[in-house]
Amino acid sequence: MDATGLELIAQRVRESVGDEVVTGTLFYRGRATLDVAPQSVRDVVAYLRDDDEEPWERLMSVHGVDYLPAEPRLGIHYELLSMERADRLNVRTRVGVEDPRVPTVVDLHPTADFQEREVFDMFGVVFEGHPDMRRILMPEDYEGYPQRRDFPMGGEPVIYTYNEPKLPRWYD
């Protein structure tokens, strides 16, 4: 995979799925990224799996990123792998925090089941069509999406001599 190969893939996706679907390509340090619009992720992944000349039949990872302060904030990456050609392609979408909805790819790649639940748990992205959209790592009734950049780290302040008198102790 090199930059020209990526451009050819983007071309084929534009021709087959739609023109406004691909919003950009990026080839950096040997990694090919295809930027797509959020609502057409499923079509792109389906096309890349089935119809493309060089099909990408395995989905290795679905993970989310918070690109604060760049808008739109939340990004979802789909790492595709082709075992025949031993090659990787990354499909990326960006959604904003206001309405983070993306169609699910769980029926194309059942491996996305737990992984999309984790993205929902950590970032709040709702995958439409996922059969079991609920929290997976945090407790069921937890509020907030921990992995977002504006979610506080939590924990306790570390007690040094300079702030020990100012911190509340448990026996107060």
Binding site: P146, M153, G154
Partner: protein
């Protein structure tokens, strides 16, 4: 408890058996009786004997959370560092049958109520060892998902530092716990948390 070993005359086994039989039947006379009692009986308090039995037969609860659990299994399972030398090799998985809870690993907020429930299901007397940095004080994980130290919801008796602590360190911690038990099982965490004379009500 001081043990004095003296060579007993007539140390043939048969002779000893007959003497023991006579002692129990009450047939020994004055200085025979005294000699026999000196050589055969040990005087101690009931609590001390009880503590001695308890400390040498700890039943750890089989409870492993994360990386420290691997070291705990190594302590129990590896022939090099072997916990059965200290009598604690019987790992019981039911909390009703165990008396030592070794919290090995990081305590996440989802797991904390479960551990509390397990602790409450254990019967008195029970002890808790917080093994490793993560259960003593959340270790390096100062964040939203880890309870900052198991002593936020459990009374802990021994803290074993390390990430993960070496098997020798865990064994040292268990030996210290044994010393503590030998002292007084009711003390320990009650002394530290200024709760003498209290009773735990689940």
């Amino acid at each position: 408890m001081e043990v004095r070993r003296t060579k007993i005359e007539g140390s043939d086994l048969r002779v000893r058996q007959l003497k023991a039989q006579q002692l129990l039947r009450g047939e020994l006379e004055a200085e025979d009786l005294e000699l026999e009692v000196e050589q055969r009986l040990l005087f101690t308090k009931l609590e001390t004997a009880q503590n001695w039995a308890r400390k040498n037969a700890l039943f750890p609860l089989g409870f492993g959370l994360a990386c420290c659990a691997i070291e705990m299994i190594t302590v129990v399972g590896s022939p090099r560092n072997d916990l059965s030398r200290f009598g604690a090799e019987v790992i019981r998985f039911s909390p009703r049958q165990a008396d030592l809870l070794i919290l090995s690993g990081r305590v996440s907020i989802k797991m904390a109520p479960i551990i509390r429930r397990l602790y409450e299901q254990m019967l008195e007397p029970k002890w808790v060892i917080a093994m490793g940095a993560c259960s003593s004080s959340a270790g390096m994980f100062n964040n939203y998902a880890v309870v900052q130290g198991a002593d936020k919801f459990l009374p802990v008796d021994i803290y074993v530092p390390g990430c993960p602590p070496r098997p020798e360190a865990l064994i040292y911690g268990i030996m210290k716990l044994q010393d503590q038990i030998m002292g007084d099982p009711a003390m320990g965490w009650r002394e530290r948390y200024r709760a003498e004379g209290t009773e735990e009500v689940a």
